[in-house]
């Protein structure tokens, strides 16, 4: 007799919207950053949007739905290596939410994005464009931030590649479709899974509005002060 499967709602709406918006914005930022010229203004706007979303996600990682909270998916080295061994041995158990390996990758990518967006605020292309906070610090720091923004950009591209390859590997090696649940939020799981506690979307909206307000102050109000 085949075991019963449940449809579990794994990912809440705010987390899913965050994921796909950031994915599009990151690609846009990479392309516009490379082209430069008239696209640099759009590159910066995209960066402000990414900063707003990342700050939201970090807060949601503390007060959001169960599966979005860092405390629920950041596991210690023992769990990490056990999952790594299981995956290689094709005996890994399905995890509701981010697994021990993916979980750390999520945090790593969020921090890379935070560093990239933040350093961009201080960057200067020495042609005609500089970030809104470049005037507030020394030229030496601006130079360092600009170099960091450039090199970290490559690290970010590498991380995105790794992320995409991992998701592709899940499909090709284990017939595990990771894209669908991040889009619909739903996943078919074996009968013993419990529905995680998802928080109301309006709370996320409030946090996002606060984040947007903070970034607006940082890039528009504060530089003029």
């Amino acid at each position: 007799m085949t075991p019963a499967t449940l449809t579990i709602r794994v990912w809440d709406l705010p987390t899913r919207i965050f994921h796909w918006l950031v994915a599009v914005l990151v690609v846009f930022s990479i392309v516009t950053g490379k082209i430069g010229g008239s696209w640099l203004e759009w590159h910066m706007r995209s960066g402000y949007a990414i900063l707003t979303l990342v700050l939201f996600r970090l807060a949601w990682g503390i007060v959001g739905s169960e599966t979005s909270r860092f405390a629920s998916f950041l596991r210690g080295p023992a769990a990490f290596f056990r999952y790594a061994r299981d995956i290689v041995g094709r005996r890994h158990r399905a995890v509701i939410g981010h697994n021990p390996m993916g979980g750390w990758m999520v945090l790593f990518m969020l921090l890379l994005l935070l560093a990239q967006a933040s350093s961009g605020l201080f960057a200067d292309d020495e042609i005609a464009t500089q970030g809104p906070l470049a005037v507030k610090v020394s030229n030496a720091l601006v130079a360092k931030m600009t170099a960091f923004h450039y090199y970290n950009g490559w690290t970010l591209i590498g991380a995105v590649f790794l992320h995409v390859i991992a998701i592709a590997a899940y499909w090709m090696a284990w017939r595990d479709n990771r894209v669908a649940p991040m889009w619909t939020g739903r996943r078919e799981m074996d009968g013993d899974g419990t529905q995680p506690e998802l928080r109301a979307t309006w709370i996320a909206a409030v946090i996002l509005a606060s984040s947007a307000g903070l970034v607006y102050w940082l890039v528009v109000v504060y530089p003029r002060a």
Partner: protein, 150 residues
């Protein structure tokens, strides 16, 4: 002095200026080209601000900025003599691919030269496009021949 001899002298003297610059000690070549680039940055960023509507388009101000950018854009080319990459962000590739470097430099100078005329027309759309074309030309050289940090 005969007129043709005087004309020949003036032409030779003008042609000698870049050569003189390249015989200048390396440290000073770097010093003067940096000065030119920095003042270009000062004037060009004001043009960019107007192009992006961060400040209102002022024809007189823009004309002055454009004139500076055009003139200054002709300076750096003659100040990249041999050995002037020491302690700078100038990559050694400049001297390995000198023809390509010069081509990019010339493109920048040519685009910059179009600025004063565009400003004079008062056509803000054309102005915006030309500012971005110049910025692109600057970037084309930086991306290839300028290190990300010293």
């Amino acid at each position: 002095m005969k007129k043709s001899a005087l004309a020949a002298f003036v032409v030779l003297a003008a042609a000698a200026i870049p050569t003189v610059a390249q015989q200048m000690k390396a440290e000073n070549q770097v010093k003067y080209r940096r000065a030119a680039y920095q003042l270009m940055n000062l004037n060009f960023s004001n043009l960019e601000a107007m192009a992006e509507n961060k400040k209102p388009f002022n024809k007189d101000e823009a004309a002055r900025n454009a004139e500076f950018v055009t003139l200054l854009s002709t300076v750096p080319k003659g100040f990249f003599g041999e050995g002037t990459d020491k302690d700078t962000r100038a990559k050694p590739e400049i001297w390995k691919n000198r023809a390509d470097f010069d081509a990019r430099m010339d493109k920048m100078t040519n685009e910059a030269a179009k600025l004063p005329a565009v400003v004079k027309t008062g056509d803000t759309a054309a102005f915006r496009k030309q500012v971005h074309d110049v910025a692109e030309a600057c970037k084309a050289c930086h991306d290839e021949y300028r290190a990300k940090q010293q």
